[in-house]
């Protein structure tokens, strides 16, 4: 199953790993299994959530939420499954 924001067909959507450091975006999809998606969602990485990339590579570190106060580290493999609308 894929969780998708239906209103994103014409925008620039890339995996989280392709964002530049400091670049902002909004999560549009999480292409992973149900358990991992549920966990990511509960941690704050869910569709329509604004994020900012702090660090590339392993781990990939993002700040989530409008106030950018929650910092999440992801393995590169998992970050590749999170798709982001650049700029949001």
């Amino acid at each position: 199953m894929i969780a998708t924001n239906p209103d994103i067909s014409t925008r620039r959507i890339v995996p989280l790993t392709q964002l530049k450091r400091g670049e902002r975006g909004v999560i549009s999809e999480t292409r992973t299994d149900d358990d991992s998606r549920a966990l990511l969602g509960a941690m704050g990485l869910r569709v329509s959530e604004p994020i900012r990339l702090c660090r590339h590579g392993e781990p990939c570190i993002v700040l989530t939420g409008a106030c950018e106060t929650c910092r999440i580290g992801l393995t590169r493999k998992l970050a590749d499954c999170v798709y982001v609308e650049v700029g949001g």
Binding site: D35, C67, G73
Partner: protein
């Protein structure tokens, strides 16, 4: 009940509210621990259950399931009555409110009387985050208290609020869109005046601590520091406990008349329990240091560094704490594997944790390296280091084999919250160390006590009559007792040694030693060493005292005289030494790799969910140890090392 996301400072708040008035227990049928504490309030005492930290109680995770059942009133901590909670105190992290509000929404839908504690309010204030708790209270209709578990700010108000929980007047919608709108609206109300400053300190440190080279160097430095502390600072209390148990044994021996009870206590229970209790300081110190590191925020970063090292072997970054803990003792290491979310990865970690060199192996290493390198401390130190490396390598390679065969499957990629760096709480670390120490002591007091009694019985029965040689020595001593008391004393000591040797040889343990001798002969062990190998199932270090008794009749293997006699002890042919260099090398390798610890097997069975895992662990480690010892012995003989 205290409910909240991980990293919300829930444990710090619990410690602040309850102090030492708490106990740690398991939820029945699970390996999940929780703490039940007592809060002293104006109207009496309030019992507070600290539920495990979860990101959502609706997740399909062990911890989340336990939280759900506890909130529904269908599960309670061991020893407690099963009933629905009177109220729930939801702990929110003031520095990350929007995400925490989702958990609050889930709790509100349970329709239980509620209190909301907005924790870490001091840190939020420093970062420019202003939480309007009054507006939040108006919106929710239940008490909302700003609090700091770390400084104690607002704790009195929270205790007062715990006495008057209220059913909230709002229930968030259950559909994802409705829930998101509810969270956003509530966050806007609560954080209307917020202009957070960027946490550049955390950002810069993260770049260093997770860097492929710098991060690894910092990780190695921190872990070296932990090891240094474990083996330096813990030595003093360990020696104290050791001498305490020795004195206790001496006192009981002198206070009780000779007989069954005295023998069981002096030769079984006291040395058995003492042999494990001696590691209590290391275990407490280990958890104290880990607690400090976790509180600073570093441990979450270290998990990612460890993930890069362990992932090629099929283990997650989470496994480094269990594996590192196992260098003190495998028991807390295996228990720490509970934090690994993926079942297969958790089982692989549990199965290989005892390969790490625990402190109980050290007396064996000391004995064998001092026999092998009598006049070369540098070589002995090198051999010591080699033992650590061999254990760690065997562990990770075994993990890879398990993950490619019986535990095959994709590992769960890591996602961790990286909390802001902060000054750790020594108080919390001390309380955590105290809790872990109590859990370990409880274990030593139950399982290990039973094992000690069984092993004592095997070594003490059937009771052999005194040998003609010892009877003759005693007669000589009796004749000399008045004229040459010193000579008489020496003769009595020789008679005691002779009888101790004979008793062990004639015991069930001795019979077992002779029975397994054919199986251990290919790796160089005669029946005497076989007794030592078998007796070390109680605890590895028992091997040293057993060998001292079997070969010299004395338990104290520390003195150079006894070491010399161990070196010179001969096999049944009267020519070949019991411990040739080839045998000593074979024994060293065997003890690095073998599963010589019954308490570890008991804990593995409990934590892994069945005796089949303990049986597999025993069979695998013993098989690997035997094959490696056979290879070592064969190579040594081929090279003329005898």
């Amino acid at each position: 009940m205290l409910l909240g996301n991980p990293n919300t400072g829930k444990t710090t708040l619990f410690n602040r509210l309850c102090g030492l008035r708490h106990k740690t227990a398991n939820f029945p049928g699970t390996t999940l621990e929780s703490r039940l504490g007592v809060v002293r309030a104006g109207s009496g005492e309030i019992r507070l259950d600290d539920l495990p930290g979860v990101y959502s109680i609706e997740l399909d995770q062990h911890e989340a399931r336990v939280c759900r059942l506890a909130l529904e009133g269908s599960l309670a901590l061991g020893g407690e009555s099963v009933r629905a909670p009177d109220a729930v105190c939801v702990v929110l992290d003031a520095t990350s409110l929007p995400r925490n509000l989702r958990m609050l929404g889930e709790a509100l839908r349970r329709r239980l009387p509620m209190i909301v504690a907005v924790n870490m309010i001091d840190i939020a204030r420093r970062r420019g985050i202003v939480i309007n708790t009054a507006a939040l209270e108006r919106e929710l209709g239940c008490p909302v208290v700003p609090v700091s578990g770390r400084t104690g700010e607002g704790v009195e108000a929270l205790v007062a609020a715990l006495e008057r929980p209220r059913l909230a007047t709002t229930t968030p919608p259950g559909d994802p869109t409705g829930e998101r709108d509810w969270v956003e609206r509530l966050a806007q109300i609560a954080e209307a005046d917020t202009t957070p400053s960027a946490d550049t300190f955390t950002e810069r440190l993260d770049l260093a601590f997770t860097h492929p080279v710098v991060g690894l160097a910092v990780f190695a430095l921190v872990m070296t520091g932990v090891f240094w502390a474990l083996f330096r600072l813990a030595t003093i209390p360990m020696d104290l406990i050791d001498s305490l148990f020795t004195s206790l044994g001496g006192f009981v021996a002198s206070a009780l008349p000779d007989g069954l009870i005295a023998s069981m206590l002096v030769d079984g229970v006291i040395p058995g329990v003492g042999g494990v209790a001696v590691f209590l300081p290391q275990i407490c110190l280990l958890f104290f240091l880990f607690s400090l590191l976790e509180d600073t925020g570093y441990l979450a970063r270290a998990s990612f560094v460890a993930d890069r090292v362990l992932r090629p072997f099929g283990l997650p970054g989470h496994a480094f704490i269990p594996l590192l803990s196992s260098h003190a003792c495998a028991l807390p290491g295996i228990m720490a594997a509970r934090a690994i979310p993926d079942r297969r990865e958790r089982l692989a970690t549990i199965l290989v944790a005892p390969f790490m060199t625990c402190s109980a192996r050290l007396p064996v290493y000391v004995l064998l390296t001092s026999l092998l390198f009598k006049d070369s401390p540098a070589m002995a130190a090198l051999a010591f280091t080699g033992c650590y490396a061999l254990g760690a390598c065997a562990g990770v390679v075994s993990a890879l084999i398990f993950r490619r065969t019986i535990l095959r499957g994709e590992g769960r990629p890591m996602a961790l919250e990286l909390p802001s760096y902060k000054r750790p709480s020594v108080r919390d670390a001390l309380m955590n160390a105290w809790d872990r120490g109590l859990v370990f002591a409880r274990n030593a007091g139950s399982v290990i006590l039973s094992i000690s009694i069984v092993l004592w019985w095997l070594a003490a029965y059937p009771v052999a009559p005194p040998t003609p040689e010892s009877a003759a020595l005693r007669e000589q001593a009796a004749a000399l007792v008045h004229s040459q008391p010193a000579e008489a004393g020496a003769l009595i000591t020789r008679a005691d040694s002779n009888e101790a040797q004979h008793r062990l040889e004639s015991s069930f343990a001795g019979m077992l030693g002779r029975a397994v001798e054919p199986a251990l002969a290919p790796i160089g062990y005669d029946w005497r060493i076989s007794i030592g190998v078998l007796s070390s199932f109680a605890a590895r270090e028992v091997f040293v005292s057993t060998m001292a008794v079997v070969l010299t009749g004395h338990e104290d293997a520390d003195s150079e005289g006894v070491l010399g006699r161990i070196r010179q002890a001969k096999r049944d042919d009267g020519v070949t030494p019991v411990l040739t260099r080839a045998t000593a090398w074979s024994l060293l390798v065997f003890f690095v790799l073998a599963m010589q610890c019954l308490p570890t097997l008991v804990v593995t069975a409990r934590e892994a969910g069945g005796w089949k895992w303990a049986a597999l662990q025993f069979a695998w480690m013993t098989g690997v140890a035997y094959a490696a010892a056979l290879t070592t012995f064969t190579i040594c003989k081929a090279m003329g090392i005898a």
